[in-house]
């Protein structure tokens, strides 16, 4: 076995996942007429949605404050780095991958950008209702498009992490922290070489 994710990284993932699912569920009730009618009580759902958002943001802050920030910084550095191998990989060719493959990097970059945009657009949705000077025409649409794109991203993410036979071992990494070394060698050879070479 080889260690892939520390407690901070796993906490970050699951805090984000929990918050996202809570906001997605309540958000879809507010957004889709079918669900609005099914659940009704719009005001309650709205309050739960807002409460989830605040709880999610605070929990993320806690992870940063209490967690291993150095490790998170290193993760981000790796994720930001789309090197020549990654670019080859993204073009569908075989190329050795680091601890994150290029797809995971893109997923992380997009997820992070979406999180920022959800916060910004959500904040202005909240503020605009209370102070109409901050009511912008596109705010709701940005929030909705983010929701739709996130659902697409989530479906792909779940498929690869839970269903697809060759990749779903990764789920163990993000829950328990370690993965089989032979699996890691196959999917993340550059990382294993570096880890074992040191």
């Amino acid at each position: 076995m080889i260690r892939r994710f520390g407690i901070t990284e796993r906490a970050l993932h699951w805090v984000h996942a929990t918050g996202f699912l809570a906001m997605l569920a309540t958000g879809l009730v507010l957004y889709l007429p079918v669900l609005s009618e099914l659940v009704a009580r719009r005001n309650l759902v709205k309050n739960v949605h807002l409460f989830s958002a605040v709880a999610w943001a605070l929990a993320l802050v806690l992870v940063f404050v209490l967690g291993n920030r150095r490790r998170l910084r290193d993760d981000w550095r790796e994720i930001e780095t789309i090197d020549a191998d990654d670019r080859r990989w993204l073009r569908g060719r075989k190329a050795p991958q680091g601890r994150f493959n290029a797809g995971q990097k893109l997923n992380a970059l997009v997820t992070a950008a979406f999180a920022v945009l959800f916060v910004v657009s959500g904040f202005f949705l909240w503020l605009g209702e209370r102070d109409h000077r901050f009511l912008f025409d596109g705010t709701g649409t940005v929030h909705e498009l983010l929701t739709l794109a996130s659902v697409g991203l989530l479906v792909g993410h779940l498929y690869l992490s839970v269903i697809h036979p060759s990749t779903r071992h990764a789920l163990r990494g993000i829950t328990l922290g370690d993965v089989r070394e032979d699996w890691a060698r196959e999917h993340h050879s550059k990382w294993v070489e570096k880890e074992r070479g040191l």
Partner: protein, 342 residues
């Protein structure tokens, strides 16, 4: 002729510029020495290139001895240059150029040997790529907040067709507070006007349609941020609607009670008599659909949409201004003028 030597020299020149620029900015660091190294390497490259030109005319594929020297020189510098690029403060593009002519694979920053030695290949441009994707996405999203008119219709354009059944794709968003939208029978429908009036009146839908009708084009603004522009409404002005019942002198406000219990909201009598307020029966040339409040709804274009009560089944004429509507009890403005701030 795009010859490897030219490219190498160009890359070196640019690198020299960058490193020297940095040396001027931050003389405390070892940048001065780095700049010297790059200058030296540049001079050697230039000499080698000159020799190569004299010898073979620079033709591609004619790789004479001076060419071998040029290659050796430029590749020997590969690893060192990759380091210097990092030092140079990360201007875009330079590492890629250096990369192109670093011939020796073991010194190529992309090669496995290099990875084994130094961990990941973290060329500056590579990092910028991911960061640019992240920041670009955030930038586009933030700019999207200020996308102008008809932003709500954008969603309809990008949603795949199987989803069009459940995702709202017109400019409208339908918000309801009840378990299901009131589906009122047009034959059984009655609208009662009561309260501070001379005589309470009850209208059937046919009665309402028999009253003098007006058509107007106005915009609809929701307090949650979306708007629908140029909506055509047809219906009855409130002055006409209340004429038969006769409003008493002490009357101050109208309370519109929706068939969607417990939704209600109010307009002062003055607001209801505004030139563009009406009880609408038609939207864009057709009878209101159920989601839009069939058979009758309030339209008050200059106030946010929660004032425009749908499925109106009763109008209470009130001698006071105390009644607080459904959303106002939950924090919204009583006077919901579009554009005014709380």
């Amino acid at each position: 002729m795009p010859d490897g030597g030219d490219r190498a020299v160009a890359a070196h020149e640019r690198l020299a510029e960058l490193v020297e620029g940095r040396a001027r900015c931050e003389p405390r660091l070892d940048a001065e020495r780095d700049a010297g190294r790059v200058r030296e390497s540049l001079a050697r490259l230039a000499r080698a290139q000159e020799r190569a030109r004299d010898h073979g005319g620079g033709g591609v594929g004619k790789r004479g001895e001076p060419f071998a020297e040029l290659e050796r020189l430029s590749s020997a510098r590969g690893g060192q240059l990759a380091q210097l690029v990092g030092i140079a403060g990360g201007r875009l593009g330079v590492a890629a150029e250096v990369d192109q002519h670093a011939g020796d694979r073991s010194r190529d920053p992309r090669s496995k040997a290099h990875v084994r030695k130094s961990g990941y290949n973290v060329g500056v441009d590579d990092r910028r790529l991911g960061r640019a994707a992240f920041l670009g996405l955030v930038g586009v999203g933030v700019a999207g907040l200020f996308y102008g008119r008809d932003a709500t219709k954008v969603v309809g354009g990008v949603v795949p067709s199987p989803l069009k059944e459940i995702v709202p794709t017109s400019g409208w968003r339908i918000y309801s507070i009840g378990r299901e939208l009131p589906r009122l029978d047009p034959n059984a429908f009655r609208l009662t006007i009561a309260g501070a009036v001379e005589r309470p009146v009850t209208y059937s839908l046919a009665d309402l349609r028999a009253l003098p009708q007006v058509t107007q084009v106005s915009d609809f603004h929701c307090v949650t941020g979306w708007s629908v522009y140029d909506v055509t409404w047809k219906g009855v002005r409130f002055r006409q609607l209340l004429a038969e019942a006769g409003v008493r002198p002490q009357a101050k406000a109208l309370r519109f009670v929706s068939a969607e219990v417990p939704y209600d909201d109010t307009l002062t009598l003055e607001q209801a008599y505004a030139a563009d307020a009406l009880l609408a029966l038609e939207l864009d040339g057709k009878p209101l659909s159920v989601p839009h409040g069939f058979p009758a709804r309030v339209v008050m274009p200059r106030m946010y949409g929660y004032k425009s009560v749908k499925w109106v089944s009763r109008i209470e004429v009130e001698p006071h201004l105390d009644t607080v509507g459904y959303w106002e009890q939950r924090g919204y403005d009583e006077d919901a003028w579009v554009g005014a701030s709380n």
